[in-house]
């Protein structure tokens, strides 16, 4: 009963907003967009995330176990790098996520700034710590790979430097978010930084193509056949998919936390809070 009433109320409010903000253009906004607006409503998204998150963690975790077993035990040693090449199974998914999550964050920034969508603000803020953790992992594993193979933990070439800038951008978003009292002002500042910093994403990805670097080129995102034999490649692909699901779980959970915090004075949050036993 309550759900029906609130959904109707929401729809009326949405229609009102549409009428208020735009001159009448009958074909411009078809009714099929209502699903999107409903998805963006905090309680609906919270419920959806609640159902989706365990699947992400479950499948992601299973794929990661498979990938690490495949990478550490089943895959043969490399002809040049011997067993040191196995660091790829941690390094490449972390590096891929560092870029993908930043891209998602920048998209959220655009939606948050233009459409003032509260959910996009929450997702943006939720992505930053997850992205920062995987960027740091990419840097650390890169150093641990660089020392035995290149002969140095760190060099200031274009790829390594731009990846370090990526970490600082994530940390900047986290810092900016905590610097403001009002969460909406904070999220808008974060959105601006996320969009401005997006220029770094193609630089990281194409740094090894555009400029000379010590870092090698991309193995799997290459046109034509990937330059890795099949028995070494499958754990990498499994690890990539598993890592994307794993980070999706973390982002969903952090988005839920952000929604709870922002909507703490609403009825649906109070009901959830009342249902949890204190000190449990």
């Amino acid at each position: 009963m309550f759900a029906v009433v609130s959904a109707d109320a929401l729809r009326i409010r949405l229609q009102h907003d549409v009428l208020k903000s735009q001159p009448p253009r009958p074909q411009r906004l078809p009714m099929s967009w209502t699903w999107f607006h409903r998805l963006a409503s905090p309680p609906t998204f919270f419920g959806l995330a609640q159902r989706l998150a365990p699947w992400c963690a479950g499948f992601g975790g299973a794929l990661l176990l498979l990938a690490w077993f495949g990478g550490l035990v089943l895959a043969p040693a490399d002809y040049q790098q011997k067993d040191a090449f196995r660091i790829i199974y941690v390094h490449v998914p972390a590096a891929a996520l560092s870029l993908s999550l930043y891209m998602a964050m920048a998209v959220c920034g655009v939606v948050a700034l233009i459409w003032r969508m509260k959910l996009a603000e929450c997702v943006l803020v939720a992505i930053a710590p997850v992205g920062a953790s995987f960027t740091a992992l990419a840097l650390v594993t890169g150093m641990l790979w660089g020392k035995p193979m290149w002969g140095a933990y760190w060099v200031w070439d274009a790829r390594l430097t731009s990846e370090l800038v990526l970490l600082f951008l994530y940390l900047g978003v986290i810092g900016l978010n905590s610097a403001f009292e009002d969460p909406r002002t904070a999220a808008r500042a974060c959105a601006l930084l996320a969009i401005v910093g997006f220029v770094n994403v193609p630089i990281v990805h194409y740094s090894v193509v555009w400029w000379n670097s010590l870092h090698q080129g991309s193995t799997i995102l290459k046109l034509g056949k990937p330059n890795i034999s099949a028995d070494m490649a499958w754990p990498l692909y499994a690890g990539l998919l598993g890592s994307y699901l794993w980070s999706a779980h973390a982002v969903l959970r952090r988005t839920q936390n952000e929604l709870l915090l922002r909507e703490r004075n609403t009825r649906w949050v109070r009901e959830i809070a009342a249902a949890t036993e204190p000190g449990a």
Binding site: A57, L64, W68, L72, V73, A77, K82, D83, A84, R86, I87, V90, H91, A94, P129, V130, S133, F134, A136, L137, V140, T141, L144, W145, K147, P148, S243, W246, S247, H249, A250, R253, R254, Q256, N257, L260, L261, R264, V269, R270, I272, A273, A274, T276, P278, G279
Partner: protein
């Protein structure tokens, strides 16, 4: 096989160090949101009790 496996052709420190760092980050991404959620809900429930 076992000794060879742990030795990682002499690069044990780097390979196992990387996987340990990976494990730490993956676990942190599982646990940190969970702890934060518990703290948030407790704070909300407490604030409700005070009213």
């Amino acid at each position: 096989m076992s000794a060879d496996f742990w030795n990682m052709s002499g690069y044990a420190v780097y390979v196992w160090g990387s996987f340990a760092a990976g494990l730490a980050v993956y676990l942190w991404n599982l646990i940190a949101p969970r702890l934060r959620r518990r703290a948030t809900l407790e704070a909300i429930a407490e604030a409700q009790g005070d009213e």
